[in-house]
């Protein structure tokens, strides 16, 4: 059975290779091949899952060793896989949601001439992501880690002819590289500390290492997680990443890749448990990001960017939970899975709306779409209810547990983190209600307005093929797009209840992550009630602001905070001034220095020799007789010297 694990990765990898090298003759069938291989991966995942279920709770780890990868001295890295409950959860999420999004993309990318390549990249992403969660050592994980970064780079910049997309792709890769720096250093630290970086040996011998080293490793892993999961301070790329096609945003930048950081922290749980300082840093990053993302999400008028802010915020919840240690790991992963369902559903809904609206992304030009797109409305609405934590739906179960766990951290920290999580819940309700109302309710603001000004390149260039720049005609999307949305909506509604009731998910994951109940200063019921109250307050404010009053087509100036939030709380401006400008000045001056100083010193030495030789050259005047004189003179000197020597 364990020999199937490699196939999980191999199937989409094969797809990527075939589609990217296959050339034009695969243009007509490429999307089908890609979807099929993603589905193959999912089926294998299900087979393995049923196998795991058939085993005892402590026997659910499968290992497959392919070959020794880099053996140098004490440094051993293997191509080897490890499938346990944690990986299994991810495998199902990735391949399942991945397959759905492949299906969705068939319709969504129908008019794009480079669709084959798009599916190739998607398959590459699946392979890398599965490698990431299946690796049995940190170096192989690193390969998957950068592989998903590459796929993300290629897909964000899929419409490369748009400079904004190319820039966004580059930015995503670069910011991620900063995170990768952390992962590299963490692996090196592990190697110097433990002499290995395979999960098993490292996590088992944590007790032998000093806390200082463990804290350093933990902080470096946190840096890596920040880059991949768009956590403060490396969050700036996620908003721009929305330049990519919407299925990509749904799969990579909502459901799977951005949650890799949470996986990394949960996987290294034993290490973090022994390094409380690193754990504290993780929770702080999570709490800050969950508020940061939520605030940004409130101010954006671009539907995808609003959702991106929301993603950031929800991952903040997960990171916060993962930082809480054994009281939070299970809930972090649980929220990750439910979030995978509803956020992917929301993004696909947004894509469906854009598909019907000539790829308009500005919510101020939406409105009243519920009549025109009933399926999209219902599925998006269910996703909306799930994310704000409406009782009974997925988000309710998973988010509520995280808030409880945050309080259970105890002490002042518990109160602060719990308070932040509660506040985040209220803001979530606010911005999601805002998105919902602006899109599906109210006046039909898109009438009498060409949605996209022709001189500006459309966000989704597929529109050019549809040839419209006039007033949009909202319509429901084709079946291939609505079916995945319905499936995901189904998951958004029921997954939470299925996982949460009777602690099914907890018992499934506990053998890997460990679990302990915290002692919360406030009762679970109190937390739930407080969450509900805040939810109603948040949604109510949004309704008062956007439901009762007409939405202006041009954004009002807004308060200082709103304006800052529109600009991602000035993070980009900071980056621009400090890093980009500073870097430009540095490189320019270095180019100058290299040309004048470094080159100059060496050339100066050469020039002085040149001057000397210029003088000496005068002696070579070409007159044979002057040479003869010097010869005779020299000979005479030698003779004289000889005679003198003898005389003396």
């Amino acid at each position: 059975m364990q020999n199937l694990i490699a196939l999980l990765v191999a199937a989409p990898l094969l797809g990527a290779a075939v589609l990217l090298c296959g050339g034009r003759r695969l243009d007509r069938s490429g999307h089908l091949i890609g979807t099929l291989l993603a589905a193959v991966s999912f089926v294998i995942g299900v087979v393995l899952f049923s196998d795991l279920l058939g085993r005892g709770a402590d026997d659910r780890t499968l290992n497959q060793h392919l070959f020794s990868w880099v053996p140098v001295g004490g440094f051993r890295a293997d191509i080897a896989f490890q499938l346990d409950q944690l990986s299994m959860t991810f495998v199902l999420l990735i391949s399942g949601v991945g397959t759905l999004i492949h299906i969705y993309s068939i319709g969504y990318m129908e008019h794009d001439e480079r669709r084959r390549r798009f599916f190739g990249y998607l398959n590459l992403f699946l392979a890398a992501m599965l490698l990431l969660v299946l690796a049995d050592n940190y170096l192989l994980l690193y390969v998957g880690w950068e592989g998903v970064g590459l796929a993300s780079y290629l897909l964000i910049g899929f419409w490369q002819h748009k400079p904004s997309a190319a820039t966004a792709a580059k930015k995503a890769f670069l910011v991620n590289r900063v995170g990768d720096l952390g992962l590299s250093i963490a692996i090196m630290l592990m190697f110097t500390t433990f002499g290995t970086f395979a999960f098993g040996p490292v996590l088992h011998s944590v007790g032998d290492a000093g806390e200082g080293r463990l804290t350093a490793i933990g902080l470096m892993l946190l840096l890596a997680a920040c880059g991949k999961s768009a956590q403060v301070p490396l969050q700036s790329w996620l908003g721009d990443a929305m330049e990519g096609p919407t299925p990509v945003s749904a799969l990579i930048h909502a459901a799977t890749m951005v949650t890799a950081g949470v996986y990394l922290i949960t996987r290294s749980g034993a290490l973090f448990n022994a390094a409380p300082t690193a754990q504290l840093a993780v929770t702080v990053v999570g709490a800050v990001t969950l508020l940061f993302g939520a605030i940004v999400g409130c101010a954006k008028d671009d539907i995808k960017k609003a959702l991106a802010g929301s993603t950031m915020s929800q991952i903040g919840y997960m990171v916060l939970a993962a930082g809480l240690g054994p009281i939070g790991y299970v809930f972090a992963i649980m929220h990750l899975v439910t979030h995978g369902f509803f956020k992917a559903g929301l993004f696909l809904g947004a894509g469906s709306v854009m598909h019907g609206m000539n790829d308009e992304v500005d919510m101020r030009r939406y409105g009243g779409l519920r009549k025109h797109m009933p399926v999209t409305f219902v599925t998006f609405g269910l996703g909306y209810l799930a994310i704000i934590g409406f009782p009974g739906l997925s988000g309710f179960f998973s988010k509520d547990k995280i808030i409880e766990a945050a309080f259970a951290k105890g002490g002042t920290e518990g109160w602060v983190l719990g308070g932040a999580a509660l506040l985040g819940a209220a803001i979530t309700a606010y911005y999601m209600t805002r998105v919902m109302i602006m899109t599906f309710f109210g006046a039909e603001r898109w009438r009498n307005a060409a949605t996209t000004s022709p001189d500006e390149p459309s966000a989704e260039p597929a529109a050019e093929h549809r040839g419209e720049h006039a007033e949009p005609h909202p319509h429901e999307s084709p079946r291939s797009m609505t079916i995945p949305m319905i499936v995901l909506a189904f998951g958004s509604v029921f997954a939470g209840a299925f996982f949460g009731i009777g602690d099914r998910f907890l018992r499934w994951l506990e053998p890997v992550t460990g679990h302990q109940e915290g002692n919360s200063p406030v009762g679970a019921a109190t937390v739930t009630i407080a969450t509900m109250v805040l939810l109603v307050v948040g949604a109510g404010i949004a309704y008062l602001q956007y439901g009762r009053r007409p939405v202006p087509a041009v954004a009002p100036r807004g308060s200082l905070l709103t304006r800052a939030a529109r600009r991602d709380l000035l993070q980009d401006d900071f980056n621009h001034v400090v890093l980009v400008r500073g870097g430009e000045h540095l490189t320019r001056s270095l180019v100058y220095v290299d040309h004048t100083l470094v080159d100059g010193v060496v050339n100066g030495t050469a020039a002085s020799f040149g001057g000397l030789s210029g003088r000496l050259r005068r002696l070579q005047n070409g007159y044979a007789r002057s040479y003869a004189v010097s010869m005779f003179g020299g000979a005479a000197l030698i003779v004289a010297a000889t005679l003198l020597m003898r005389a003396v």
């Binding site: 440094f75 580059k170 433990f194 080293r213």
Partner: protein, 523 residues
């Protein structure tokens, strides 16, 4: 006596060079085919060397030894260890691609046939370089090595100065002046390095009484040849200076951007992927073996210089406007990594450095040759003259991206393994330096992606809108290199198996052991 395989591997391209040069002027194409066939045959011989070489066997294998200049004890002594075998294979592998990529680089310009550049000479010179580089990897006699080290400057000089880029066909006068400046600069830097090395070689002879690497190293190891500390350090510096110029190490690097910028892309590959490797190779073989004490003494300074190379080269690459100069500065950064790995004196560092030499050769060749194809289409080296190439020539853009990703050491491609090994090897002994060097990976991503973004993405520029995609010949050049990058990235074991034992020998030469992990050390 067995068949002298090593001599044959070096002699074949040498004979081929003469034969190619002798092909009559009218039969240019025949000369090209001859050169290609010779280089392929050399590759076969190199494959034989690889096959005959036993990774676990003697340190030097396939040895040959003949008396040459008796009066000075100079011998014609050949032998290869794992490191040399790897680099020999790399050289033999790259030359056919270089020849194929430069297939039309030396054709006469039809418009200006009076300034016809002899095709035969171009290919003959490439083969001559190959012969000398291969022999220098094989030589275990210091004097023989020195002669080759210097002699390979001559064909390189003519290749750089004589065969410029078609990109400048328009402004011939100025281009020719720049080119000859670059060639003279290349020659002068390396000659000065070589002269200082000559002094050190003579000094070594005075001290040791012969030139045989094995004998001297043996005598050094068992203590029968002791040098005064000062003498050893001076000799070490003499050798190291020459190698550092060739490698090149900051601040002796300024000849490289000029040379690589002005030379045609295949010649640029020859410089950075093949000839420069002799410098780093010689550090491992001569500096560490002959002067272990001095090597340890100089390590801190060299490590810092290597670190400066890494960061400085990368930063300057970001600031370049010229594609080829950008690749040149990126190479300077990579050579910094190689030297860092060598002098970290850990098995990971040195194995990584050796792998790095091989992988850097392949990845730079891929990137530079594709860049050459790009440049030959548009006739300009300036990044700003391109834009949106991805749309008109997707295969070219795709291969360019893969080359770039290899340059930034993406995991899954070969350079990642070597770079990570170097970093780990450095980190285990010098954590702070290791961390700073790791910042190089961010900068590498920056210059590569900026290059890709500016040339390949965005709106299609009018001048590139008619650009044809890669032709069959060009695909034949690029595809195997990319395949090799992926293969060695996934399964580098054949290479590590060869290199590891050689590195163990070097490690014992310098009397260093890998640091123990903290957990074990505590027990």
């Amino acid at each position: 006596m067995s068949f002298p395989l090593l001599t044959a591997t070096a002699a074949l391209p040498a004979v081929g060079a003469v034969a190619t040069a002798a092909v009559p002027a009218a039969k240019r194409t025949a000369a090209k085919w001859l050169a290609l066939l010779v280089s392929l045959a050399t590759l076969v011989l190199a494959g034989l060397v690889l096959a005959r070489f036993e990774p676990g066997g003697d340190r030097y294998q396939l040895t040959e030894s003949h008396s040459w200049i008796k009066a000075f004890g100079v011998r014609y002594e050949l032998g290869v260890d794992g490191i040399a075998v790897a680099l020999l294979a790399l050289t033999a592998l790259l030359i056919p691609f270089v020849i194929l990529a430069g297939w039309h680089d030396a054709d006469p310009l039809e418009t200006n046939s009076s300034r016809w550049r002899p095709t035969q000479g171009f290919f003959a010179l490439i083969l001559a370089v190959e012969a000398m580089v291969i022999l220098s990897f094989e030589a275990t006699d210091v004097f023989l090595f020195y002669i080759l080290f210097e002699a390979m400057l001559i064909p390189m000089y003519f290749l750089i100065g004589g065969f410029g880029d078609r990109a400048h066909a328009g402004s011939d006068e100025k281009a020719a002046a720049q080119r000859s400046y670059a060639a003279v600069k290349f020659l002068l830097y390396n000659l000065v390095g070589g002269l200082i090395m000559l002094a050190a070689v003579i000094g070594l002879y005075v001290v040791a009484g012969n030139f045989s690497l094995q004998e001297i190293a043996q005598a050094r190891a068992d203590g029968s040849l002791s040098m005064a500390t000062g003498t050893e350090r001076w000799l070490f510096l003499g050798f190291f200076f020459a190698f550092a110029v060739k490698a090149p190490l900051w601040p002796l690097h300024t000849w490289l951007p000029n040379a690589m910028g002005e030379a045609t892309a295949p010649v640029a590959v020859l410089i950075t992927a093949v000839v420069d490797k002799v410098g780093t190779f010689a550090m491992l073989r001569f500096c560490l073996q002959l002067f272990p004490g001095a090597s340890r003494w100089a390590t801190p300074v060299i490590m810092v210089l290597a670190l400066i190379s890494i960061v400085y080269g990368a930063l300057l690459a970001v600031g370049q406007r010229d594609i080829k100069r950008l690749v040149a500065y990126a190479s300077i950064s990579h050579f910094g990594f190689i030297i860092l790995g060598i002098f970290a004196m850990t098995s990971q560092g040195q194995s990584g450095a050796t792998l790095y030499m091989v992988n850097h050769g392949i990845s730079t060749a891929a990137l530079m040759l594709v860049a050459g194809f790009l440049i030959s289409r548009r006739g300009s080296r300036l990044i700003a003259d391109y834009g949106g190439v991805q749309k008109v020539a997707p295969v070219l853009a795709g291969t360019f991206l893969v080359g770039g990703l290899a340059t930034l050491s993406l995991p899954g491609l070969a350079p990642f393994i070597s770079e990570f090994l170097v970093l780990v090897g450095t980190f285990t002994r010098y954590p702070v330096l290791g961390v700073i060097a790791t910042f190089g990976i961010v900068l590498a991503a920056l210059y590569t992606l900026v290059l890709y973004q500016r040339t390949m993405t965005g709106p299609v520029k009018a001048e590139v809108s008619a650009m044809p995609d890669l032709k069959v010949r060009e695909l034949v050049v690029v595809a195997p290199l990319i395949a090799l990058l992926i293969f060695l990235g996934v399964y580098p074991k054949p290479l590590t198996n060869i290199v590891n034992p050689a590195v163990q020998h070097t490690m014992s030469d310098v009397q260093k052991k890998d640091p123990k992990p903290a957990v074990e050390a505590a027990q």
